[in-house]
């Protein structure tokens, strides 16, 4: 399938010939996305061309051309979301990497960013101004805009909530090419506030998984940032050992081993009531071993993880707590005292850990989960901590049936990452497999999903076609929204519906 000549020429006239290409190799390189490689993108197709706009007006022009010629388009930036890989023929791939401007509004503590900006590009610039943001577990290379509208989950959500709540005003090219401005941007040339006249349409952008390019392209987005401590973190180490040395006067990290997950959960609720901590989370024990072996090789992981089999107890809880004295050293001392008291009362000992950034200020190495098997599928939930504990244990148990070909992780539970001081929690099982065994991963995921449907649990980022009917018919609502905003059905259809785990849409003409 090739793009009509006039359409291609029109695209060239918008961005310049250098920034659009229908060369098969360029298009081939843009047919696959990141997370979910080999799973979410199993039937993705080559786009008809790849194009790199620089401005909102250029995005608008491209979208109008797509509508005029009946072409589809899908936006990507750092491309870590495989849901935006083209799944249907006739798709133009909008590569937004050249849209990499951002402005820091120091006084009002927010950043306005284009979609090509990665977290790591912003973070140090923020530090210089005494501010900070935090990166998702998937890494600092992710686009700040894409991540905020996708969901924005990160362990520091314990204190600050999910990322999508930090969205302020934004500028958005709708599927038909109209530009919509939300919040203060709709009235004045300022992005400082998210609410504006009329209903708040930011909800259409985010939910818990965003719209995956199904409702147009967000070309500028403002997000709130926070005051940092007076001392800067400092980079140390080379290669795999590079990390931030955190200022010890303001940061303390503790690992706490609980005799049972129940005691861990009770302690977490208590810590939430006390409103202390920057990060409080139960670490997936498997990932704990992955992190230790990172940079030393998968053989080291298997050697150490196999050795640990006798001592690993599926009922134990591994809590990691990062404390930060944002306002003062006194605050840190106070929080430390509270932490020790709470965890001790629940049967654990708080053991100090190295004061290095494994706290998602910059180093977030979830991608290293791929080095055990080279594919993984996360099964996630956003629910109460109690529910997460229950479903996490059940799914870990369920996985045993699929071992082998999936690697044996001894029925250990995954991550429990509470947000908003434990008002809500993310549960995530990182299930690894070899490249050839992704079908088995799919079978495991489907079994988990069927169980979720039975018990009325809502798993995160799943296919609305499967879960919508069980949850108030939200799939129908999404379809209606899609029809209203994307009447020609050109913006990465059928997103935001479809393209769920293991339920890929078959390519059509």
């Amino acid at each position: 399938m090739s793009i009509p000549k006039e359409a291609y020429q029109a695209l060239q006239s918008i961005v310049g010939p250098e920034w659009v290409s229908d060369d098969p190799a360029i298009c081939n390189a843009d047919m696959k996305g990141g997370a979910g490689t080999g799973i979410r993108d199993i039937d993705s197709v080559r786009p008809v061309c790849s194009i790199q706009p620089r401005t909102t007006e250029e995005v608008q022009g491209i979208v109008k051309i797509a509508n005029r010629y009946g072409l589809l388009y899908s936006p990507t930036s750092t491309f870590f979301n495989a849901d935006t890989a083209p799944h249907l023929k006739n798709t133009i791939l909008l590569d937004l990497k050249r849209m990499e401007d951002f402005e820091i509004h120091e006084k009002d503590m927010y950043v306005v960013s284009q979609p090509g900006v990665a977290f790591s590009m912003v973070q140090w610039e923020l530090f210089k101004k005494g501010l900070f943001t935090f990166v998702p577990g998937s890494g600092s290379q992710c686009s700040v805009v894409a991540n905020h509208i996708f969901c924005g989950d990160a362990p520091m959500g314990w204190r600050y909530g999910l990322g999508y709540r930090r969205i302020l005003a934004c500028e958005w090219v709708l599927p038909d090419g109209e530009i919509l401005k939300l919040g203060t941007k709709s009235m004045i040339d300022d992005y400082f506030w998210g609410e504006g006249p009329g209903p708040d349409l930011r909800g259409l952008l985010r939910g818990t998984k965003g719209h995956s390019g199904g409702l147009g392209v967000v070309t500028k987005l403002a997000f709130k940032v926070f005051p940092f401590v007076p001392e800067m973190p400092w980079p140390v180490g080379l290669g795999p050992h590079a990390t931030y040395q955190l200022p010890e006067s303001r940061f303390k990290i503790y690992n706490c081993r609980f005799p049972s997950i129940k005691q861990l959960a009770d302690a977490v609720y208590e810590l939430g009531k006390c409103e202390i901590g920057l990060v409080v989370m139960h670490v997936d024990p498997v990932f704990g071993y992955v992190a230790r072996a990172r940079g030393r090789g998968a053989n080291v992981f298997w050697e150490e993880f196999t050795k640990a089999k006798e001592t690993l107890d599926v009922n134990q809880g591994w809590l990691r707590v990062v404390l930060c004295g944002f306002t003062s050293e006194k605050q840190l001392a106070y929080e430390e005292k509270v932490l020790v008291e709470v965890v001790t009362a629940h049967g654990a000992t708080a053991k100090p850990a190295r004061p290095f950034d494994e706290t998602n200020l910059q180093s977030a190495d979830a991608i290293s989960a791929n080095f055990v098997g080279r594919r993984f599928a996360s099964i996630l939930y956003f629910e109460s901590l109690d529910h997460c504990v229950k479903v996490g244990k059940e799914n870990a148990e369920r996985k045993k049936k699929y071992v082998p070909p999936l690697p044996d992780t001894y029925g250990l539970p995954g991550w429990y990452v509470p947000y908003d001081f434990a008002h809500i929690c993310k549960e995530e099982n990182l299930n690894q497999s070899d490249v050839d065994d992704v079908v088995t991963l799919g079978e495991l995921a489907n079994e988990c999903r069927q169980n979720d449907l039975k018990m009325g649990a809502y798993p995160w980022a799943e296919d609305p076609n499967m879960f919508g009917p069980a949850f108030f018919g939200y799939d129908r609502k999404l379809k209606e929204i899609k029809e209203i905003f994307d009447p020609c059905n050109v913006s990465n259809p059928p997103a935001p519906i479809g393209h769920g785990h293991f339920t890929p849409t078959k390519p059509t003409e």
Partner: protein
């Protein structure tokens, strides 16, 4: 051929397309301006122009769903094989990203789709005259001056390399005078041939093997046990690519490979060599890719990929953290009057100068843009000069500096050492 694309298919398939290959190590980022590290991606931005895209291209070439298109050829010709993507990926994963790119370049050559014509012409010159310039072989030692003392027989062989022998003679002269001053007996060989870097790095592996064989024979005949180089490209070729082509480990080659900075640093630290002349200069240091992240010893691995990422037998990974980073810095800071300031992209995060892997020969404008990008970073440090350890880096940075109005001076470290010698 011991080094085939098929052998690295599993590495290409393991790419999770996370885009980390496009950035320097995140914790070392100090500004958005200098956050990116892949020259082809910074200049072209399409994913094809990155490890991310080249991994998928390699898989598609292997399964026959893609041919070497003009853009793929362009990406491979412009990729300087700087290895930045490789070491960034290996922070988190066990994948041989650079090996995929290198063998993809070799596959392009096999299919008649590479290298660029000018790099083919260089191969012809090497075949005819044993050097990349096509100059008469007998001129190879013409860089030598009367005051340089060379031994007839010694344990150390100074392998001068084409650039310092024919073009950047001041580097060869400075290196020889430093060795003389340090009291190191050394030989040079009139039978030295091009190390083969221009061939290996452009995928011309058959031609490269001839160079490997000849130079190893030459070394054996000379009886030397240590090869000294003043060229980062030559250093990496001798230390990494020669053993790679022979399926051997660097340590089993029977000789030691040293860059001049490693030797001088050792001598300074044991007190037998001193740099006493004062040089009042604020300088920054440019890490050559081939002396830094790519210079770790090669460990041959001939095993199998087992389930769940395990390898049988286990493999020793080269992740870029053990390159030659400190010796040149320690030499510079030992010189009275020199103030060393660092660029944001340094050590294993260094930005390539643009000269590597035939990119400059094939795409001069592109390579000069890459070099100019480096000079922007030099400028941001406030340094008046940039020092490197490779003739190729010096040449391109000097030319880029000449085109700018900043007046930044460019030196090879041997020239600085020579000036600082008492």
């Amino acid at each position: 051929m011991p080094f085939k694309l098929e052998d690295y298919a599993i590495d290409a398939a393991g790419c999770p397309r996370c885009s980390n290959c496009k950035f320097i190590e995140h914790v070392w980022i100090k500004s958005a301006r200098f956050a990116r590290q892949c020259p082809i991606n910074v200049m072209h931005r399409f994913n094809l122009y990155s490890a991310h895209g080249l991994m998928h291209s390699a898989l598609s070439i292997l399964d026959g769903t893609l041919e070497f298109t003009p853009k793929l050829q362009d990406a491979l010709e412009k990729c300087t094989s700087c290895g930045a993507c490789d070491v960034r990926c290996k922070r988190n994963l066990d994948l041989e990203i650079l090996a995929v790119i290198e063998t993809l370049k070799a596959r392009a050559v096999e299919m008649g789709k590479g290298p660029a014509l000018v790099n083919k012409a260089i191969a012809d010159k090497i075949a005819k005259s044993n050097n990349r310039y096509g100059s008469p072989h007998q001129n190879r030692l013409k860089w030598m001056t009367k005051e340089i003392k060379v031994a007839d027989k010694a344990d150390v062989l100074y392998f001068v390399g084409c650039r310092a022998s024919y073009a950047d003679k001041e580097i060869a002269q400075a290196t020889a005078r430093i060795l003389n001053k340090a009291g190191i007996d050394f030989m040079v060989s009139a039978d030295e041939w091009c190390c083969g870097y221009p061939l290996y790095s452009t995928g011309q592996l058959d031609a490269f093997q001839k160079q490997v064989k000849h130079n190893l024979d030459m070394l054996q005949k000379s009886g030397a046990k240590t090869v000294i180089l003043s060229c980062a490209e030559g250093y990496k070729t001798w230390k990494v690519d020669y053993p790679k082509m022979l399926d051997r480990n660097t340590e089993d080659m029977g000789f030691r490979v040293l860059h001049i900075v490693e030797l001088i640093d050792e001598l300074i630290k044991d007190g037998s060599f001193k740099l006493k002349n004062r040089l009042d200069m604020k300088v920054t240091y440019h890490d050559p890719c081939n002396l830094g992240r790519l210079s770790e010893p090669w460990y041959h691995w001939d095993g199998v990929h087992k389930k769940w990422g395990a390898l049988e037998p286990p493999k020793i990974w080269r992740r870029g953290d053990k390159g030659v980073y400190e010796p040149p810095r320690d030499i510079l800071t030992s010189i009275p009057g020199i103030e060393l300031v660092e660029m944001e992209r340094m050590r294993d995060n260094s930005w390539c100068c643009g000269a590597g892997a035939g990119a400059r020969e094939a795409h001069e404008d592109y390579a000069m843009r890459v070099a100019s990008e480096r000079l922007e970073e030099v400028k941001a440090t406030g340094a008046e000069a940039v020092v490197s350890c490779c003739p190729a880096c010096k040449e391109i940075l000097k030319e880029a500096a000449a085109k700018s109005s900043e007046g930044i001076k460019v030196y090879d470290i041997t020239e600085i050492i020579l000036q600082a010698m008492a």
